[in-house]
Amino acid sequence: MLKSFFIALVVASAVFLITNFIGFPVIFSWVFVGFVFIGWLFLLLLDARPMAMPGRPLLSIVIFFLLASSVLFLIGNFVPQYDPREEIAKVKRLQSNFVKKELAAQQEALQAEMEAAGMQVAAAQPITTTEEATAAAPQAPSPELIAAGETVYNDFECYNCHKIGGKGGVKRRGPALDNVGGVLSADLVREKILDPTVFIAEGFEREYDKGVMPDTYSVQMAPDSVDALVAYLMSLQDSSVETPRPLDPDTGEPLQVQVAEAAPPAGAAEEAPAAAPEIGTEHMPEGWWTDPEIIAKGKEVYEGVANPEVNCSACHGRDGKPVLTGAADFRDPELVAGLSDTEWFNKVANGVPDTPMTAWGEKLTVEQIWQVIAYQNTFHTGGKPEVHQNP
């Protein structure tokens, strides 16, 4: 027995050295060494003399069961575990995401029913938390939104198929996303998440044909989770890592993509806040009434593009002509000019008591409110930007 033990020891040492030499991390080498000793014990069992019939067979059987149970239980606890608290926190977030999605769907259905019945529809109560909603603007996603997006990325296990920073995606299933913000527009990223068939990632034609990318995120993700994820992905602009171009699924030709300007990385807003002009809630910032870019952004807010939870046109009409009885008619110059910019800001931010006009201050940034007011100011002039007549 001693001799065989020494042989096993020599073999185990050789296995340890060889496996280390060819590149196995040491933990793997130890497992292989364990196998050598299990083999040694097994050989001893093979050559052992037959055992006598147990004197107390029932007791032997019970002891054997308990022994086998203990060994399996210990192995189950010995292999690596994860922290269940992390898992619980993750599931809580996913549950919250689902509840929000369900409530939004129910609200939408109810609203449609009421509209179909010709009833006055109260402005929808958006279902998002304050922190999540304050940074829904796609042009300048806040660090909080980007961080929230990273959490969504992890919670929905996008890392299973994609790599970021070299991590994730054991098997080649999906492209690295390090520069996704540099090659795709936010809209295209959003479309791809919700409908994987919208384009082919160049070099992943086979995976596209096999439908590797799950088409279930439109069912699983609440709108604000999608917003956050898009913001996070658009913040990834590391051009040193190749991220494939999008191809048209029908022609196989590259899609023409209007790439967004480089979004500031997470935290950049905090690092350089002084550079931005200070925007208060009292007056429209200088030059914004007639600034085409500001008016264009205001249009996006007004029509629910910037934040799907805020859609002024649902009640006030896309052209300022109200579609809901009692809603303000922005084509009326007297009405628009009858209130100062401060008063308009208050109406948008705080709502109008006892009317369907909801307080949007929690859903929109100060900049977005001014943008939408600037856009709203163009309806009574036939689309021509003018300085407000009651500054």
Binding site: I22, G23, F24, P25, V26, I27, F28, V31, F32, F35, I38, G39, F42, L43, L45, L46, P50, M51, M53, P54, P57, L58, S60, I61, F64, F65, A68, S69, L72, F73, I75, G76, N77, V79, P80, Q81, Y82, D83, P84, E86, E87, I88, K90, V91, L94, Q95, F98, V99, N154, E157, Y159, N160, C161, K167, G168, V170, R173, V212, P214, T216
Partner: protein, 516 residues
């Protein structure tokens, strides 16, 4: 004793009556009306798995019981007749217990998870509320007819007895297929389930893979349990004739178990492949993320099962004269199985998640110390695992070839075997039931935080995936209780029958080389 057996015989019908009355009362949807101490999930897990284990046994055992009976009748070999008879007695006892735990399971389901239960009932009413109870009644009638007519339907009537047994298997399999439809739907529901026909609901992407996998697994399980029953009876036997019979019975059970076990790998692989095809994120969650260490455990269990199965053949050969010449080859075979095991359980990385835990300060170092480098990554992929599985199967196959060659040329005495072989048989049954519990947990947990994947989320506090350590505790407890119940069935079914005349009538000659 007979009174206890009769009492157990009426249990399935009593459970049905209770189900119909109790089920109606609790079927209304709403918040869970009860929260049990120790957690609702633990309760449902424990009872459901226990029910499944027992159900697997009462479905698997009759398959080879009937085959044994047919062989015995065809060859006029009383050993097969006795094997079938004794296993039927154990099965009938286990049948009653299956019904009891099935009833308990449905009560808990209705009481603790009324919404999901109502939802499933609404979709699958003809299957769950019609086919299941009606099939259950028919199966109850058939199994008791099969058991209690054994002595009466001999001679010219034997064929009717066999037909009853075949019908019993058909009905049992249909019931299982019906329930598989619900279990597989919960993991891979069809997208437009609201507008789907019943057949479309049944024939969801993983229904057939689950059917085939469970059908073969039940035979494996029945074979190993037969081996364990024989082993226990062997160890408890007082007479050489008894030992000779139970030694032979253990050999047959193990042979059937290992043979079907070898066939199980392919359907299991297809099942996994279908899950990947349905939604790759489910497959990755199982194989590379939170459930990856569960598959480590599966590798350990299956690997040791092959090893111990081969060890049983080794001990069986040691009693055959002139079999020594195969010993060195057998030892090489054991080495191969160990090597295959080592490859099988080599993971991509030794941590239980896809990425390092968030709390790790230096993820790069963490990965470097625990993950296979790129040039060795192939060891973690399926081709390597399949090769390892095939190697283990091949070694066991060759071991049996050695055995049958030895027995043609040498002499052996049934009943004269190293008693460690009987503990090997017990381990195989133990590992089989532990593996069933483990893979049952994997199938349920793969749905992540959904009751029905993407259709109905689990919004309870227990929706998270537990660690393997916790699951091991659950599975071990379930396994121990299961074996306690099987022990009770053996005691009621066999130990109280030893004095009956047929037990002696069908005893076998202690010496000989014939197996079938």
């Amino acid at each position: 004793m007979h009174r206890i057996r009769r009492l157990l015989a009426v249990v399935p019908l009593a459970v049905l009556v209770l189900l119909i009355s109790g089920g109606t009362a609790w079927a209304a949807p709403g918040d869970p009306p009860v929260t049990l101490p120790w957690g609702n999930r633990q309760w449902i897990w424990f009872i459901a798995q226990l029910h499944l284990d027992l159900a697997a046994f009462i479905l698997g055992a009759p398959i080879f019981i009937v085959i044994s009976e047919i062989i015995g009748w065809w060859k006029q070999d009383t050993r097969f007749e006795r094997l079938a008879r004794e296993m039927t007695r154990v099965t009938v006892m286990a049948y009653s217990l299956t019904a009891l735990f099935g009833g308990f399971f449905i009560f808990l389901l209705i009481g603790m998870y009324p919404k999901v239960t109502s939802f499933v009932v609404e979709l699958y009413f003809p299957i769950w509320m019609m086919l299941y109870p009606v099939g259950f009644i028919i199966e109850t009638v058939l199994i008791y007819t099969y058991n209690y007519t054994w002595d009466r339907w001999q001679g010219a009537r034997k064929v009717w007895h066999i037909v009853t047994g075949v019908l019993l298997n058909i009905v049992g399999t249909l019931i299982m297929f019906g329930q598989n439809a619900i279990a597989s739907f919960m993991l891979t529901p069809i997208q437009d389930y609201q507008n789907a026909s019943l057949w479309e609901l049944i024939n969801n992407p993983t229904w057939w893979p689950l059917n085939i996998h469970r059908f073969i697994a039940n035979i494996t399980f029945g074979g190993f349990i037969c081996g364990m029953v024989a082993a226990i009876m062997f160890l408890l036997a007082k007479r050489d004739e008894e030992r000779a019979f139970y030694d032979w019975m253990g050999f047959i059970g193990n042979f059937i178990g290992l043979f079907s076990f070898a066939m199980l790998a392919l359907p299991g692989y297809i099942f996994g492949k279908e899950i990947y095809a349905y939604d790759a994120s489910l497959g990755i969650y199982m194989m590379s993320d939170r459930l990856s260490m569960y598959f480590e455990m599966q590798g350990i269990l299956i690997g040791t099962s092959y090893l111990i199965g081969a060890y049983y053949i080794w001990t069986s050969m040691r009693r055959i004269t002139k079999s020594e010449r195969f010993a060195p080859f057998m030892k090489v075979g054991f080495g191969l199985i160990l090597l295959a095991n080592a490859i099988w359980i080599t993971p991509r990385h030794w941590f239980a998640t896809m990425n390092p835990p968030a709390t790790v300060e230096n993820p790069d170092l963490f990965i470097r110390l625990r993950e296979l480098p790129a040039h060795l990554g192939f060891l973690a992929l399926m081709p390597a695992k399949n090769t390892a599985a095939f190697a283990s199967i091949l070694v066991v196959f060759i071991a049996y070839v050695f055995y049958f060659v030895s027995i043609r040329r040498g002499e052996m005495t049934w009943g004269k075997i190293n008693p460690t072989s009987q503990f090997a048989l017990i381990y195989l049954a133990f590992a089989a039931i532990w593996t069933m519990g483990l893979m049952g947990a994997v199938r349920e947990l793969a749905r992540k935080y959904y009751h029905i994947y993407l259709v109905m989320p689990d919004l309870t506090n227990e929706a998270y995936t537990p660690t393997l350590g916790f699951a091991s505790l659950m599975i071990t407890l379930i396994t121990l209780v299961f074996f306690a119940l099987i022990g009770l069935s053996i005691w009621l079914g066999l130990r109280t029958h030893v004095a009956e005349p047929e037990a002696q009538d069908v005893s076998i000659p202690a010496t000989g080389g014939s197996h079938a």
